[in-house]
Symmetry: D3
Subunit: 315 residues, 6 copies
């Protein structure tokens, strides 16, 4: 049974991914596993009561399990309980990737689009720098999400976010020919690339944790360093305007100091990048939350002020 | 000579529009006219010294004049001085509209696009409401700007802003089919319509002043009233979801309470509208400021945080 | 026993109103009802353990019940437990209105004051508009509260808030004769009127929920629409200053953009209205919270910064 | 001629008060006096060109002068120019107080009301403390304004502000009998008292400057010290609740930390005090600005957000 | 066993201090004691199930107990459970002070340093005032912490904070001889002194509660009053600059209005005081939190923005 | 005559540095030079009327001139006027450096201290990185200021700021041995180093302008790049904790996102660095402003909230 279809007091059977698993003890000192399981349609808390010592050493985050269980309502939230559980075997033929929500476009196709976009960059130095940076994380782009829970939180979500932004940039550049299309596209390709240094668990398409290095530096400063490194590698002066421009775009893409950009957009393409990023990420967050919910009124959408969206059916 | 080409210590001759004209007195008690003149390429302060009583009754804002004069630098700003001046005559064949910057697309064409868009709205009640509101200001859409100085401050600027947003909306709806295209387009057509009640001088393509009614109510609340009126007119229940949705879109299009929206976006189309509005108005403000300046670094752009943009030529 | 008098480990018996009721399950999968009950003196959470299928279909929000139970302390909050429970019957003679806190003045008397105030408006058009709007919700004014929990959260609370503000306005106008008394009084009568479109459950004197329409538009914009409608109805030009002034007062009564007013007060009466509203609502919130508590230090008062009030007995 | 009636290009003759006077030099090195003069109806800048050495030693702020002069418009502001000037003599019979706007109620009457209010305080210790503090500045209450330019900026303005607030408090206490009337009235009498330590020039009914001590401590902390001193004087324990309560009221009367109150209102009377203070000071600021201007739209009112007020004549 | 060494599923035996103790009831109505116990190395929640009526009257905050118990993990936090418990007896020889973390320097030594510092103040009046104020709380300085949990939250923490700041001030004055060393040192000695009026439980080295007087006035205003009182006592004019300066330093030491200082620093020594206070309190908070935790990443540090600190071992 | 000693109506003669020079025209169309001149004691505006074409091509910012002139008061500010002016010649023997305020310690001595500090770094990789970065700007450290006008705005001001912070860090590390002294010192040496890429005119000890690259990237991100480059150069992994730590310190040294740090301090040494930076820069700004003014009350100090400082002489 898909998690999206689970309701109060139903029984279920199926394969799921363990997102979290912690051994805890009840007030009367018995061990149990407090877990969260997920599939492509959502996630749900799961209690596995009265576990054995063996169980504690068997079930960890990132593993695929087959579970028979029941669902109940607890503090107005659904929660599942294990009746039977075992690890998935090779014969089951169920992979992690089968259970993580995936970008609507296959990651390999996304990568192909990204490659084509790089190939289309006319400015030679710019192309070298972008190619250098993207090639370093090509593997990860097949799987990494763009965020933990706010937006594009799924397998290949990062590459998907890049590609959707490229489409938008393409259109905006047609509307506004004074924009340097090479620069804007390069900025999009680079801006979130170092999220791969911020996220743990990204190869599974999920973010289980932020890395220490990610917290201490942030993806914005790391990609700026990579651009610097690329320039050195290809004997481009770090003072060259093309280096400055690319670094400016990645540094400013959050749009405001209080969102973690150390400087404000001061090139038209930087402004365009931050606006397109905001448009795409917010709309996607809303689309994801709405499609994952059966309610008419979806709340707690962290990507937007107020956090509430209604679904309205205007017949 | 075009105003854009005026430089320190040059002489000029040409037709210009008076944007402001105030009679003042020098410290030694002589009258002079303190004016601002403009053409399609920019504006410049103009001093008309030692005026006669006749002069005082001749030159007013909104009139076209022929001027011979000189330019000098005063407190790091250019300023012009009248050598000779007279009102334009019919034989001169120069109209106000010749001297006001105009939207890149002729207003009649913009109106045609707007009409076609209305015609394309599939939802019958929605179309009635939008048609009612737009038809009320059709005349003004041929001339009104979208703002005083921040963005789209030119002849037909309001209609141009609407049409560019419609293009963006069209693209975004293709990317995100879950959006109600009728609703988003209607929101765009309506959102700034009542700026025609906020601006004085809009028929000339400029904003000389805000109206009292505009200051006391704001265009957001006035258009909400018009939607209500349209519903009554067509016997649509004001509680009908279509009325609520349209009003919600116009009320929320500034995106934040502190920008004057009394409620936050809570429909996906409302979020899309506010994002598209921000993207189009900021990019246009930057484009206009950059194209109007010969400097590499343009400052004081009120539409964006920091207010500074560089022009960078990546060869 | 009145809820106000319930203390740790006491037993109680009485009639109460169910404010909320949700079926939940214990960790070991048993159903129970998680409720909140109230009377005129306060409210308390109530657990009804081991319920039958029948119970689940019997007890809902808005119903009057007779309960025998016990009180205990749980996480520093009092909580009640059902020993015996049944629905109130006609013979019991207990109405919902007996269990909801009521404004200190009977609603019918409040309505009479409101009617008299309308009658006293000298400006003919203003009177027509106010009369039109108030008459539309006269029924609801007999019961609706002014808020969910912040201030005047009781039966007839909205009308009570209006009347107390009218008294204050009367006094302020005596102090400051330059104020237009008709306008200020009209503004008070109108400003919160459309809360009746925002609240669910208002006929019971409580707010169980906000309506979708209330969330999407807000009471401020809805009353502005009504004023517009009234003007149309009585053939008053919407551009007439009296319409603009009334709409300005209702639009600005929250006093700040970040509180949801789309424009700031720009008429003396608008400033007076927002100040009087703030004075009355905050003082009432404090008075209600203090009188409902036996503590010397009352905390979590949402209407005021800091949220804490001491009761001090200066002998 | 009254300053209020001066217009562009008129001549005037009359007695005025010098508010500021500075010797300056023109670009070509001639001395002149740059002054501001005022009467009860307003103020205007005044230039006195080509002054003698004698003139420089004759005209200072705070003196009454007889001036013949002319008015002109300079940078959209009216400005006067001296034709003839001399100091007022005893025979002229014009006092400073004739030229400073005065509270609508004679200061001696205000003081009488203040005395009666003190006499009406029932709580003995409270009365002692209030009496001690008020008596220390009784002289100054006959003249001091309540502010430099924001509100009640006139002769006796401080006492007038106190009396108007006492009236409001009286009314609010009738509406809300749970308030301790003695405490609220005492708070009003004390709250702004130490503005007399903040202002220079207050004996003339104007604020020419803030004192160093006023800037370093603020009137809020100084009055708190005085209350402490009064307690010591009358052998009341500083820990006595009545001392704490009075100090709390004065410390919190600005209502918010960012307005300079070190703690937030936590007694109902403290909340009432800050609300009544805000209501009275804002309304008075608006009333004063409106009555001093002939414009329909008055701008730059510093006491209110937005700073703009319209005068609307609803016939 | 020290609390710092307690881990999941271990057993422990030892003496501890009860920080909080509340009688609660389980869902099935049984009484238990919900406590927090502490020793010099940290604190941990403790459940004492199935208590007797006697138990309820025996165990209170502030008492020393001997406990045998077990530790388990509950919602990712460690929590202890009582197996056996009794009050400490005289024979046990364990004092409260043995179980409260103490400043690294013995309080008596801290007091000696404070005394020496006072003795070193050259300005006679200043010395009198400081001596008067410090002597009033000398007893409490032996035990009071500087805060509840943010910084220096331990026995003698307040005096320790003062002494560390004095060291820093000494160094800064050497770097910047233009500073008045007497004034800066006096400011440090006085600035937090009246926290002894804000805290309950300070004689035990802990803060169990804030006093009503502390909440209503704040330590900043109380010490200002004491300085005023000292001036009166020694016949120093309250207007004397030395009084103003000392009061200014204590009033401004929080550095910003929104942190509760009613005025901003306007003397160099006031700026130095607020900077040194911030430096010492934040560094100490971080040092305390880091040393009390075995984690590499310590979170929820309330004294700093973001609240997270990593321990990094650069080999 | 030193600029500090210039007063209203005095005559002066001396050598000065031209800080700014712009050709302007009077209202009656005559050219003049609008300049600012400075020496080690301050700066003053200077008008050079009726200039020749030769003059326009002679006097530019950065040149030393000999001037005879007079001083007058204009709009309450002192302003100088040229009587006679000529460029300094070699025989005059006056250098730019003679006219720019210089750090109290000779720059070569500051550099020696910086070198010694680098030599004292025990951690080998850290030393390599710091040495690499500092050596790149050693030349500039002899002259560059630390800011345009806020703090340390003088010849060698940047090196002086570094050295004073090193002294403070030395002391703080003694107080708090848990701090990694190598890391803190390295952070201080690096944190502002790339201001040399932000400032134009720094070789003269002044900031005439910000560079485009400085505005687009900011010194914080540039030094982060240099650290990355140093790591590559010395074959240190960019992921090495020492690289991360150094980058973290420079990225976070502004202490808050809204001050332009993209991440918040999360290492104790990063917190110490931002606190020490704030302490030193604010105290220096105040010391500089106070010593440069003869007023008792110095205003407009941009480095501090409120901007006002009093000089108080406690006899």
């Amino acid at each position: 049974m898909l998690i999206k279809d689970m309701a109060d007091r139903c029984e279920f059977l199926g394969f799921y991914l363990i997102k979290n698993a912690t051994v805890k003890q009840t007030a009367d000192n018995k061990n149990y596993l407090d877990m969260v399981i997920s599939d492509t349609t959502g996630e749900i808390p799961l209690k596995f009561w009265d576990i054995s010592d063996m169980d504690k050493e068997t079930y960890f985050a990132g593993l695929v399990v087959k579970i028979k269980g029941t669902v109940s309502l607890y503090r107005e939230k659904l929660q599942a309980k294990v009746s039977k559980i075992r690890l998935a075997t090779d014969e089951d033929g169920v992979q992690v990737s089968d259970l993580v929500k995936t970008a609507p476009v296959p990651p390999v196709d996304l990568l192909a689009i990204i490659d084509n976009t790089i190939a289309s960059i006319g400015h030679a130095k710019m192309k070298q720098i972008v190619e250098f940076c993207v090639s370093r994380v090509k593997e990860q782009l097949l799987s990494y999400p763009a965020g933990k829970s706010v937006h594009h939180a799924y397998y290949g979500g990062l590459a998907y976010h890049m590609v959707r932004m490229l489409e938008l940039a393409d259109f905006v550049c047609k509307q506004r020919p004074f924009l340097n299309q090479d620069l804007l596209k390069s900025g999009i390709l680079l801006h979130d690339l170092c999220k791969v240094e911020e996220f743990e668990g990204g190869e599974q398409g999920i973010v289980t944790e932020y890395t220490m290095r990610g917290n201490l530096l942030g993806h914005i400063s790391i990609i700026s360093n990579w651009i610097h490194e690329a320039a050195l590698r290809f004997h481009i002066q770090p003072q060259d305007d093309v280096v400055t421009a690319l670094q400016h775009l990645v540094l400013t893409h959050h749009g405001k100091l209080e969102y973690g950009s150390p400087v404000l957009p001061q090139l038209p393409e930087a402004l365009a990048l931050s606006q397109i990023d905001m448009l795409d990420s917010r709309m996607q967050a809303v689309e994801d939350m709405i499609s994952a919910s059966n309610e008419t009124c979806v709340t707690s959408i962290r990507a937007i002020d107020g956090g509430r969206m209604y679904k309205l059916n205007l017949e």
